[in-house]
Amino acid sequence: MSTLPNSRTTRFWADRPLAYKGVVVIALPLAILIGALASLYLASNAEAEAEDDVRRAFAIQRDIYQVRAMLAEAAAGVGDYALTREDRFLEPYERMENQLSPTLQRLDVAIEDDRVQAGFQDLLRVVEQKREGLRETIALAQSPQPSTQTEIEESLLASKMTLDAVREEIDNIQRLEAIVLDERRALVDDVRSRFFALTAVSGIVGLLGSLMAVYLFSTGIVRRVSKLEQNAEMLARGERLTELPEEADEIGRLSQRLVGASALLRKREDDLRASEERFRLVIERVRDYGIFTLDTGGIVTSWNLGAERIKGWQAEEILGQHFSQFYPDDTRDYLPDQMLERARAEGAAEDEGWRVRKDGSVFWANVVITALRNEAGELQGFAKVTRDMTERRRSEDALRLAREDAVAASLAKSEFLSRTSHELRTPLNAILGFGQLLEIDLEDFSQPHQEAVERITRAGRHLLSLINDLLDISSIEAGGAELEYEEVDVAAMLEEVHDLAEPIVSSAGLSFEMALPEAGAKVVADRRRMTQVILNLVGNAAKYNVEGSFVRLGASLDGDGAATFFVEDDGPGIDPANASRLFTAFDRLGQHKRDKTEGTGLGLALSKGLVESMGGQIGYSPRKPGSRFWFTLSSQPTENSRPKADQES
């Protein structure tokens, strides 16, 4: 923090973790308290020790006085005994002999000081001399040979001198002891004053330390926390935080994170703004779509190039105007509000209809209005995308009309085919019916009439098969052939056709051979039409193979799931020059003129139409001798094949 001096101490303190700081702030007064308590304890200890010393000194004085008193009393008693020889004067001496030793032992223990101890040792010596002198005096007094008065006096005098020496020694000890006591007292006073000084100093230091800690806490933590709070508020307002705090404690790190977050936020904001700007530029330049925004009331608030191009207004002309003027008179009163209401309720509203340009011309528009909401879901306005669909509508109209025409034409063609069929069959019914009635009575007629009747019925039947084939081809070409697809077992199917065609082939004097594929192979086809094609090919082979000996029907399976059906013969074959005209309607390649064989000339054309409408191919290849006709069918449903709806034949 800039408010703190950036000294090393401050920096060191600021870098400590908060727990450390807390410990320091709490530990400082605690240490002072403990220090004060300890010095108090030490002082009281020293005082108690000094008091003990004094008390001991007094006990020593008392004991010394006692020694002196006992010796003095014993000496007086012994003096009196020597003079009187009465035993009662020996009582103090005996008391002294009993009590002196314990008293002296007590003193020996009590005296600690070396100098006093030295004096005490001197005292012990003179006391012993004194006791010796007293014992001598008593012995003299008790001697059976009466001692001279002089000897006793001399002994008493010596004892008196010894007593004086004792007194001197005791005085000396007392003096020394007094000196020691004074020294002790001085030492106690010294210790006490030192402790007082120490307590005072530590108290002052502790107080200052506490104040410093509080100062550091308030500056280093409270102030920084309040700064942190300010930063957080700035961040919340979206302002930029630039100062990067260097402190390494928790607050410092938190502050650093806030600054980091601020930078991130700012970067995102910048990115968003840049993206918005790019988006705005893109929208502005879109030419094919009119993209503009409305406020919640429908007033235009932005306008792009596409809108300008489609609607004709420049941005400055239309901004601030209500968007209802894009609508023609008949819808202007209700549709704009309706669209906004729908967009508000459903999120978006789409519409297609006529809109008005600035110059009053109308165009067909596809319009999507989207409600714009903020994160709280409050409506901010609308985005409107308009496309000019006039061209598409025109082409759609044209397409629809064309489709309607085509459907009508197809219907007309079907109707025509149906009518033609009916109109051709109706007279044929009478012709063939009467012909048949005449045939029943054929024996009643003469030979030429019989032939005439036969010609009529044969020609009638030929006409009928022509009509049937022609209508078939026409309906296939019109796309009206109703094919009913199903899965057809190839081998079984060929067996069936073989049974059907057997009479035709054998009546032509030919053998009918089969070349069946393996069982189980299937194709998807209209069974009836497929049979029709095979019968036609077999019929042709039987009809035109006048020189050969066989007709062969068979099928082979291709690798890709298709089957190739073929009909072969060993007849005269087809002239290669005519091969390309084989599948043309009514082109009988001159066969009918040459061989007088019956036929409509439509069989192969019809077969080709049928096979191709079932998704297959049909073709011819020469054999030596003979011909080979083939066609293919797929085992997979083709795009126009559908499953057979029912079993109607």
Partner: protein, 148 residues
């Protein structure tokens, strides 16, 4: 042929009404029926008079063309079934040049009992006519029998 049940004379005596707008076809039918031996045959080329004839004549069998001007065969089929009592069995054999599957289905759905495409085989049509009449006679006999 179940000749044991119904005598041929009884079948041939039944009334047949043929309706076809084409004169030649009506003539063919009349010719065919006469050859078979039917005695009570009525023919109509004007379909507008067909319902009236149906009600008046109460035919046992109707031979009906479908594609006719003004009133077509489908309309007549509907009219006939509206007119007949529910328990009546009066067969209609449709003879038409309309060979489409739709026409066949529609006619049968509207109550036609049989359907033959033109040009038809005269022998086949003769057999179908006698079969239908026989069925009608059996039906009548069953209805008249006591306890049935």
């Amino acid at each position: 042929m179940s000749q044991q049940l119904i005598a041929t004379e009884e079948i041939l005596s039944r009334r047949i009404l043929a309706i076809d707008d084409e004169e030649a076809n009506v003539a063919l039918l009349r010719n065919l029926l006469q050859r078979e031996g039917y005695e009570d045959v009525h023919c109509l080329t004007d379909s507008t008079k067909a319902l009236e004839a149906y009600i008046d004549l109460e035919p046992d069998l109707v031979l009906l063309d479908l594609m006719m001007p003004e009133v077509d065969g489908f309309q007549l089929l509907e009219a006939f079934s509206r007119h007949d009592a529910a328990d009546e069995f009066r067969p209609v054999l449709v003879l038409t040049a309309d060979t489409t599957i739709q026409a066949r289905r529609k006619a049968l759905a509207l109550g036609a009992k049989d359907f033959v495409a033109k040009p038809f085989d005269v022998i086949e049509v003769g057999l179908r006519i006698s079969n239908l009449l026989e069925t009608r006679l059996l039906y009548e006999r069953l209805r008249a029998a006591p306890g049935v």
